[in-house]
Amino acid sequence: MDAITGLMNGFSVALQPQNLFWAFVGTFMGTAIGVLPGIGPALTIALLLPVTVYIEPTAAFIMFAGILYGAMYGGSTTSILLNTPGESGAMMTALEGNKMARQGRGAAALCTAAIGSFVAGTIGTLGITFLAPPIAELAFIFKPQDYFALMLLAFLSVSVVMGTSKVRGFIALFLGLSLGVVGIDKQTGLQRLTFGVPDLMDGVEMTVVLVSLFAIGETLYVASRFGFQKPNLNPLAGGIWMTKEDWKRSWKPWLRGTLFGFPIGALPAGGAEIPTFLSYTVERSLTKHPEEFGHGAIEGVAGPEAANNAAAAGILVPLLTLGLPTSATAAILLAAFQNYGLQPGPLLFINSADLVWGLIASLYVGNLMLLVLNLPLAGLWVRLLFIPRPYLYAGILIFSLVGIWGVSNSWVDLAMMAGVGVLGYTMRVYDFPIAPVLIGLILGPMAEVQMRRALAVGQGDPMVFVSTPLSAVLVAVSALILIVPALLQWRRTRKIDMPDETAGV
């Protein structure tokens, strides 16, 4: 088979010492930027574009691929240990992962995240090797109504399972939705909720809200409770490795997360966030340990971490096969290809086979490298929690502020960080879930654009939302998610003939 010979040639390229070196540089940098709040792979590769003048294309792309994968690995570390995700794709990991860390099982959470990332990255890379052309076709199959239905599904499923109180969950979600409408409406150019502040015209930067709600809110909360809390529990109480039980509970979520991440990552309007939402929801509903969710369930770490890494592999599919950049990172990679006078697309596999297969082979190598880099480090990273908390959280505060300032150089963003940070603190004090705010902020604007596109194409006919098989199925599933739990509860209450207080999960 062509792909196999190509891949073998690719390995002979990727395993050359200098290319191994570039893969190491890329994965190391990727891990570092994943850990740092605010700085993502797109920005890093953009900053490194000028090096394309000096190093040969294969080496550059091997390094860039390492950055892309590494960022997804690194994002999980701070999510789990410090409850401060550096990237939006790592947000769901924080929910269960940080609870695990607080029980002294941080190392196990880091391990399942690292191995899950490796499994998903490897399966995703296998997907690029053998399935790229058909997966890339998804980009053409998805119509606005399909995107809208997918986002509706992500929305409903994640809101239904979030938090301990529906009312609090929905309040948080609507906070996020209202933050999401701020800015100039791209379809009409009208300003919404900008109050004449030019910095708000571009909308509320998602990273600002992410970092403020988690990092600043967490820091304030820890500071305010510091005097009352028991001294630190030994962060290594749960050992530095996964138990047999952990393995048993992790492998299925890894595979399911990959199944969500890879195809959705390949969609032009997919991204890494939606698959992590869906994966978290699915793990939460399939688990045999529902009581652990919200208190540190390993499935809730394994699934989303696999999903975000598979999504990172997914974005390379339309780029390599069709020359279509479907995300900011892919767009920068395309610019890098053009710097070398290469046009990604079907012809790239023929004209520059060495480069493409070298890149694909280096994805396997980079993945393995990340695993080797991260597994032994898991035990080391956890020791971060031995740092006395005043120093640790002062450090987090500084890194967050520098990260946000470095990205936008905007005073408005810093002021917003303070405001949203206080909001995050208040939400913690009154037991509001944090994640729905970000889900609303991420999905709201995406869903709005797709809904309006679908309605424009359908000339205002609402039936357009179920006009394709895919959208009809997704809308039906969304409706079931909304109706079935309510129906079950209604039947239960009728049988028992008294209100069931505990069912409102």
Partner: protein
């Protein structure tokens, strides 16, 4: 030549108005990474650095949205009087300012050069019943709303092309079913997958997909035909519509005369360099170099022309 540049740089470093010698340029691209404004911001600096014309490096900011006015506002707000700050821009920004009633305009910045032009193309899906410009006009006449049109931001150059086609065909441009997309990649997948019936974008964005047999180009928006594309210009097809998506560079508001001369000098050198010619070929850009006062005059004409088009087309009041 290197000596001359060095001497010039030294002279500037001695004069109080000039930026510090090793200051990297502050460059704004009022569009997302990987897009046209992004390339127009980065590639000239790549060429200048390769040729040793300007080697202090540059920090790039991408700020897209609302036809580029968000980036423009930020550029103007942050860089007044900064001789080291430039921004990529183009015809879409000229329209975007009018459409978004932007509080800041191009009167606030210092025009420097026009560098390139990208001809537009009108395309349909390969299996579309629309095969020619006549078919398109007839379909629009039959039911204007049923012809959904994908393209760049609302009121951008793609939108203007369709508005002019409608106007030339005696239809009301304000009633076009125009659906803005964030990127050419999104628009081309929407068209190839049949989500929209027709799409407008630049040659460089649509030609690879047309060559791959995914979409069919039915017209180009230049005066005459474009080499390598088997489609007439709109003018040949009987519609008096010629629109070019030109791009260039402007300097910071209140840039000093020395600063302006310095940049014009750099761009003039860059335009003659081999590195820039190489980039033009690689990117498939048409050279449309126009500098200094000529560019200012052109920009003023363009502002009037586009203002009229948009008003006639019912896109602005």
């Amino acid at each position: 030549m290197i000596k001359a540049v060095f001497a010039a740089a030294l002279a500037f470093s001695l004069s109080a108005a000039a930026p510090a010698l090793a200051d990297p340029a502050v460059v704004m691209a009022p569009g997302g990474a990987g897009g046209g404004y992004d390339a127009m911001a980065r590639l000239p600096f790549e060429a200048m650095s390769k040729e040793g014309i300007f080697t202090d490096g540059a920090t790039f900011t991408n700020k897209g949205g609302a036809g580029g006015t968000i980036g423009l506002a930020e550029f103007i707000g942050a860089n007044r009087g900064n001789d080291n700050a430039v921004m990529s821009m183009g015809v879409i920004l000229v329209g975007g300012i009018l459409l978004n009633s932007s509080p800041v305009t191009l009167d606030d910045v210092t025009p420097l050069v026009r560098l390139t032009n990208d001809t537009g193309v009108v395309a349909v899906a390969t299996d579309s019943p629309i095969k020619t410009v006549d078919d398109l006009v007839n379909a629009m006449k039959e039911n204007l709303g049923a012809v959904s049109i994908g393209g760049g931001s609302a009121g951008g150059v793609d939108h203007i092309v369709m508005a002019l086609i409608a106007k030339e065909s005696g239809l009301e441009p304000a009633r076009l079913n125009y659906i803005p997309y964030d990127s050419g990649a999104e628009a081309v997948t929407a068209l190839g997958g049949g989500a929209v019936s027709v799409a407008v974008s630049g040659v460089s964005e649509f030609k690879p997909m047309a060559d791959a047999g995914r979409i069919r180009i039915i017209a180009v928006t230049s005066e005459g035909r474009v080499e390598g594309i088997d489609a007439p210009s709109l003018k040949e097809a009987g519609l008096n519509v010629v629109v070019g998506n030109w791009r260039g560079i402007v300097g910071a508001p209140d840039m000093s005369a020395e600063g302006r001369t310095m940049w014009l000098d750099r761009f003039a050198k860059m335009h003659d360099s081999a590195a820039w010619k190489d980039i033009l070929v690689k990117q498939g850009w048409e050279d449309a170099y126009l500098a200094g006062d000529d560019f200012v005059a052109f920009l003023n004409d363009e502002k009037t022309r586009i203002g009229e088009i948009l008003k006639e087309a019912g896109l602005t009041k």
